[in-house]
């Protein structure tokens, strides 16, 4: 075997080259800071969930001298996109739990309390602890309330027992949901998977849970003993027609029944009977496992504040904002972002990721006496898990158009491993980067 002279730079030259490369890399990693706007404004952000935290992190870099107050009584931050994985036994409950204070930048004041009253005329927020905050700008990012009481006979104590699951209720309830669902995957029987008729966060999650439990039952060799029914709230399986059709085909492939226009109104845990409101009146269905997702509404403090739409979603109370700027239509110093915003789509963390920079742009422009044409077009993303190991990366907007991030590479309506990898590996990381205001 021969050796040949390749190239002969000196060792010193090599080290110099390496040092130069390192210096270049370090310079490239630094991001150019955007110009700061000086202000003495007091900005109150209600809610330190995905939207409130991400916005706070971005505003501290854009505003110089502003007073930013976050109001949230819950100490824990919940990574809600993880709930579906917890409820399928793929992650532990702790996967979704962190501390709110882990994510907050210095220079932001956290009031560990809940809002008791919002007065948009006087521009004040009264806290349950008795303190009253005056604001110049208000960001309503409270998220939404799960109305479990609306399902007669249901209570959160039941989750995990008697074949009852409810993964939306939190990471611990998601883990309990898996306790009930895993029994179904072993023993089979009748599985009912429901969704409410109200607007809801991540309308893909009820479907994901259905697909995951179907797949786990199948892999356990027990699918023959199981009958799985998805109860849709209307005549479609998903709000975007082209996606609904795809899900219909997948249901056909997996042997999942669809019961259209079946809205859960009551359960009888003792007799294992579920009552549904249907166009033909009430209908009772028996179950061995039922997944309950209750109706979802704006928190009572928001509904009492006069900020809600008066002529839309009157039973739900979402905040009356312009669908593109997310600015309140009657109070220009008020914005709503995240689940509580009264816009046709966008109750997901992916929507928040696109909404937050828009609110930031409008707020900073307003403070600077300027304007901006930054607009949110309804972008929502749903990594629709169709089995353990595969998902469809579905992205769409207000107009029900598909808006793929990687057109021609990652097909939105194909079940792909790469889409699953994104959900499993990259999604939480992207979410966390978003919380820090970096994505």
């Amino acid at each position: 075997m021969t050796e040949y002279e390749q190239f002969s730079p000196s060792r010193r030259g090599f080290l110099g080259l390496a040092a130069g490369a390192a210096a270049l890399a370090a310079a490239g990693a630094g991001t150019a800071a955007r110009a700061q706007v000086a202000t003495k404004a007091h900005i109150v952000i209600l809610g330190s969930g995905a939207a409130g935290t991400a916005l706070a992190n971005r505003l501290v870099h854009r505003l110089d001298g502003a007073r930013i107050t976050l109001v949230d009584g819950r100490k824990q931050h919940l990574y809600q996109p993880g709930f579906s994985l917890i409820a399928a036994g793929l992650k532990p409950a702790g996967y979704s739990v962190s501390q709110t204070t882990d994510w907050l930048p210095s220079g932001v004041e956290l009031k560990q309390d809940y809002a008791a009253q919002i007065d948009p005329e006087a521009k004040t927020v009264a806290l349950q602890g008795g303190e009253t905050l005056s604001y110049d700008y208000l960001i309503v990012a409270t998220g939404l309330t799960l109305d479990h009481d609306a399902i007669e006979g249901f209570s959160l104590d039941l989750v995990g027992t008697e074949g009852i699951g409810a993964l939306y209720a939190g990471p611990d309830y998601a883990a309990k949901t898996w306790a009930a669902a895993s029994k179904f995957t072993e023993e089979g029987g009748v599985g009912l998977f429901t969704r409410p008729a109200t607007e809801m966060k991540c309308a893909g999650a009820p479907l994901k849970h259905t697909f995951l439990i179907d797949d786990i039952t199948r892999k356990a060799g027990n699918r023959g003993k199981a009958e799985i029914t998805y109860a849709a709230n209307n005549e479609s399986l998903f709000g975007v027609p082209i996606v609904s059709e795809k899900v219909r085909m997948l249901f056909g492939d997996r042997g999942i029944n669809a019961a259209y226009s079946h809205v859960l109104s009551a359960i009888d845990p003792g007799r294992k009977l579920a009552t549904f409101d249907t166009p033909e009146g009430q209908k009772e269905l028996g179950y061995d496992y039922i997944h309950v997702i209750p109706p979802q509404r704006a928190p009572q403090v928001v509904r009492d504040s006069g900020l809600s739409w008066a002529d839309k979603w009157t039973d739900q109370g979402w905040v009356e904002v312009d669908m593109h700027s997310l600015r309140h239509r009657r109070y220009p110093e008020v914005f709503a972002v995240g689940d509580v915003a009264g816009v046709p789509k966008g109750k997901t963390a992916a929507s928040v990721k696109w909404q937050v920079p828009v609110v930031e742009a409008h707020l900073v422009a307003q403070i600077a006496g300027d304007s901006t044409d930054a607009a949110y077009h309804g972008y929502t993303s749903c990594p629709m898990i169709t089995r353990v190991g595969r998902a469809m990366l579905i992205e769409f907007d207000y107009k029900n158009n598909l808006t793929p991030s990687f057109p021609g590479v990652i097909a939105p309506l194909e079940e792909l491993w790469i889409s699953w990898l994104m959900k499993e590996v990259a999604l939480k990381a992207t979410y966390n980067a978003m919380l820090r205001g970096k994505a």
């Binding site: 190239f7 390496a18 970096k438």
Partner: protein
């Protein structure tokens, strides 16, 4: 994905592995790469004997990388659903193969330098 910049990617990777582990891995990968160039320059030649061993290690690196990704993500070969999935799988395999080959070559050069005369 909005604003997919280099900074965003770095932020995402920091979150995947944790900031400390990510930069430690970058440092290790960088150190191995630097050591690789160092031995190339020091020896002023590619040693084909060492390169042979490096090449022989490549399939193991490829398989190990693929299995690592599958175990970490609760998935398997049956989940390959389209062309992009095959491409991702191959990229993972190639990365594992090249990574291990560079590691093996570098370790041989650094520690087994004079153990055997070159033919």
């Amino acid at each position: 994905m909005k604003d997919l910049t280099f900074g965003t990617l770095i932020a995402v990777f920091e979150e995947i592995f944790g900031r400390g582990l990510f930069w430690a891995m970058v440092a290790i990968a960088g150190a191995i790469t630097l050591a690789y160039f160092y031995v190339l320059i020091r020896d002023r030649a590619v040693s084909w004997r060492k390169f042979l061993w490096a090449q022989l290690s490549m399939p193991f690196g490829a398989i190990a990388a693929v299995l690592f990704v599958q175990v970490m993500t609760h998935s398997g070969f049956r989940d390959i659903g389209g062309p992009i999935d095959v491409i991702v799988l191959l990229m993972v395999a190639v990365a594992g193969a090249i990574g291990l080959a560079i590691l093996v070559y570098t370790l041989e050069s650094l520690f087994l330098r004079k153990s055997r005369p070159e033919v």
